[in-house]
Amino acid sequence: MKRVLFSAFFFYSSALHAQSVEEVLPKFHALIAGLTFLFLIFYIGVPQYALYRARGWVGDRKRRYSRPTRVLPVRLPDYVRGKKVHILRQGHDIALSGVPRNKLIDRTIRHYAIQPTNFRGIFPIPKLTVQVGDRVKAGDVLYYQRYQPKIQHVAPVSGEITAINRGRKRSIIEVVIAADEQTEYKPLQPPDWKNSSREELVEFLLQCGAWPLFNQRPYDIIPPIDAVPRDIFISTFSTAPLAPDYDMIVNGHGEAFQMGLNVLTRLTSGKVHLGLNANGIYPPASEYTEATGVEKHWFYGVHPTGNVGVQIHHIAPIRPGDVVWTLTVQQVIQLGKIWTEQKWVADRVIAITGAGAEETGYVRTKVGANIGELIGEPHEKTRYISGDVLSGETKAPHQFLNWQHEMVSCIPEGDYFEPFGWLIPSRVAPSRSRTLANFVFPNKVFDGDTNTHGEKRAFVMSDDYDGLLPMDIPLYHLMKAILVNDYDKMEQLGIKELSEEDVALAEWRCTSKQPLQQILRRGLEMWREQEM
């Protein structure tokens, strides 16, 4: 260090006697370049990030084959050679610690709940058919919708109804069941999927309570009973932070998965599309790659490539007036088991993830499992989220996993003050901004916490959302169109192709901390009311 300073001193001391600018200029250039370089290194916090203990990726089964770049050609894995691959160059992987380990955790879960609030558009309060103290079998009706009594919601397990919890305006938020040790199933007699008509199938699905398995895009609602979807889409992988490994989920359920797909092909006027993962070192599970009767599409790219909405956009976009359905893999398996096992098997494999988790891994349980029983010992300074950290919902340990979610994310609460955190950060956190050194160390893995890292501001940076949504949608302008209630522009810019999970990444990135998911939902609800 001393030598560097001395040589710099001698280098510049001769310039002090310079008489003309020409003599000084080269040294001036060197000085400015050096100062700028040093400033950048220290300002973006390279020392902080270099000293921070880098945690390796946990488990290599799902490691990326390579990273997509914005311009250069990408290197695709061998198993997609000769196949058409949708290469999505936009997006961002948030590297969080607590990736679920490939092992099953043994947890006894006694309480389950079906939550009407998980389903959008149940209006008004549904009609209960059970009371506290009633005994139900798996597959027995719990409640039905008042305006559409044919849409019924059924119990995932057998047991006793222990509570019916109500929220604001006496709305029902949870129907809680204390499960028996051995689940008793209500026997089902499914019609032949190949030879019965679509009407017969629909009638049976409504009757056995399977209708809420379907999710309609746009709006993410339970589809009306007379709707015929243009296509049905299933994504067989997730790219969300800490997402579960979908190969683990389908393992051993190949037959049911295929049967579910078979039934789905009968329900749509179009095709059933399967989005396959071309990111891994190894090919995805054979249950996916060898599925029959469906169209398969390979996708290569970082988050949100695994989102079904993004895949729809690249396979067959939702045009005005179109209605499509989406299902998760576990829902397809559940649908298939109605035929293969002749009963309502609401099994789920739930991933327990995140830096705040006592133990990461997978738990075999059923829909709507109790959060506290899933995670083990709850910790006060940890936030438990049903779903992923970008678009999930905060849950207390006494609450229950949401219907559509397949993971519990446990991340530390971030209620700390950071002195001059905006100028000289003393903590490191995931970031996509190049004002921080994250871009110098792309492989660092962070715990992540719930601090907002700043306050909410008006929209200022217009290029924040660029490159975070691999769809032909100008997100910044769409958000502004929603904020000013411009119905036409919203639709023209593609609001109906979007769901909260698709804009969640942009919300994470937003410098002004704007609630994009909330704004988007407002716009979607405005449109839904128009079309009702």
Binding site: T450, A458, V460, D463
Partner: protein
């Protein structure tokens, strides 16, 4: 730090009773501490970056321009009176003189600007937004060093109240605040900001034989201080040397082309920045360093900067081909050595609020700024420099550019939907 935080919590004023005081407190507290708010809805984790960090990056990118500008104010003054003409001679005097000029400008800008900002923040009941952090750093850099402070105060107040708060505050303004302050002064008090004479500070008049003037800061604070330290002091009486000409490179270029410029300033001097001009615009390497910081940190849009440079270069090259006046014959690359071309494109055009917001729109916006900037500079005899007007003009048209780009996008989406 914990003690400081406890102290802050102890002095927190009541929001209902003293809204203005609470706004002030809140601004100060969030300056010292990133608050402990946690996410409540939507994404549970948030990016580490916030608006404060983005804005302060721009301010830090300007610091070198400030330091050089302070020295250059003094250097130009002493060149005019023919003392300490070497670059490193009388360094302390040059810096002291520059500081005495720029500190009052800086303080008045911030007093007026922050006062208005705080008042409106309290009135609207939201926290202080960081917009003025950058505007307040830019305004002193684009003013002549001798500007009367009351005119500056009026200009800043005009820009903030009518240009920003009337539209709803940070993020809502149509025109660049710093340039609005300057354009107000430019048209209301042209004598203090346009013309050749105003760019060398501390002279009675910009002509040979005029006396050098020093304020009370130089005579009563710096002179005794330097005497105490055994350094040379400001001269008691000095007059402008006979060979002095206050002409800026641009006015020389307009009358006599590149030859007239190089007869007085070598290209190296123009590049280095030891020339009369606004405080911040003179040294090109420092502006390029600032540009590098903004581009590497991604704070400024590279599309606007690339578009601006390209637009200016192409326009200047086309004018070279025409070559009707001496100014048109200046080689296109030397246009970046003159005036505030680089400074304006780097720091003014890239303001994300007033620029276009679509990627394609940013290219168009940048290209047109380059085009108009050179056109005004070369062809219009009334204005010595065109960047301020070019950028404000394109600020006005940025929403229109975005509208066209978005309509094109909608059309493309519709055509895809029909297939």
């Amino acid at each position: 730090m914990k003690k400081l935080r406890e102290f802050f919590h102890r002095i927190e004023p009541d929001k209902k009773e003293h809204p203005l005081l609470h706004t002030l407190y809140d601004g100060l507290f969030t300056f010292f501490f990133v608050p402990n708010t946690v996410t409540t809805q939507g994404a549970h984790i948030r990016d580490k970056v916030d608006l404060k960090r983005v804005m302060v990056t721009v301010v830090l990118a300007l610091t070198l321009c400030y330091i050089f500008g302070i020295w250059n104010i003094g250097h130009q003054h002493f060149l005019a009176i023919g003392q300490y003409t070497g670059l490193f001679e009388g360094l302390h005097l040059k810096f002291a003189f520059g500081l005495a000029k720029i500190l009052p400008i800086f303080i008045v800008t911030h007093l007026v600007g922050l006062g208005i900002e705080f008042y409106y923040a309290a009135k609207r009941g939201h926290s202080i937004e960081e917009g003025f952090l950058v505007s307040g750093a830019l305004i002193p850099l684009i003013m002549p060093p001798d500007i009367p402070l009351w005119i500056l105060a009026v200009g800043v107040a005009f820009a903030l109240i009518l240009g920003k708060e009337a539209f709803g505050g940070t993020g809502m303004n149509v025109w660049n605040i710093a340039l609005l302050a300057r354009v107000f002064i430019f048209f209301s008090y042209p004598a203090v900001i346009s013309g050749d004479e105003v760019w060398v500070a501390g002279l009675e008049a910009a002509k040979p034989g005029a006396a050098a003037q020093y304020g009370w800061i130089e005579t009563y604070i710096f002179n005794p201080l330097f005497q105490l330290l055994g350094l040379s002091t400001f001269p008691d009486s000095a007059t402008v040397v006979d060979t002095f000409s206050g002409a800026t490179p641009l006015s020389l270029a307009f009358s006599g082309g590149w030859d007239a410029v190089t007869a007085r300033f070598s290209p190296a001097e123009l590049w280095f920045g030891a020339i009369p001009g606004s405080v911040g615009e003179v040294s090109k390497p420092l502006i390029l360093a600032g540009m590098a910081i903004l581009l590497i940190t991604g704070v400024a849009s590279w599309r606007i900067i690339a578009g601006g440079l390209l637009g200016a270069a192409i326009t200047a090259w086309l004018l070279n081909l025409w070559g009707a006046t001496p100014m048109m014959q200046i080689p296109w690359y030397y246009h970046f050595y003159l005036g505030s071309a680089l400074f304006a494109i780097t720091f003014m055009a890239t303001d994300p609020v007033t620029a276009s917001t679509t990627p394609m729109g940013k290219w168009i916006y940048g290209l047109l700024i380059g085009f108009f900037g050179i056109i005004v500079r070369v062809i219009n005899p009334a204005y010595p420099e065109g960047w301020m007007l070019a950028i404000l003009f394109m600020n006005t048209f940025a929403p229109l550019i975005d509208h066209i780009v978005i309509e094109m996008k909608i059309k493309r989406r519709l055509s895809r939907a029909k297939v």
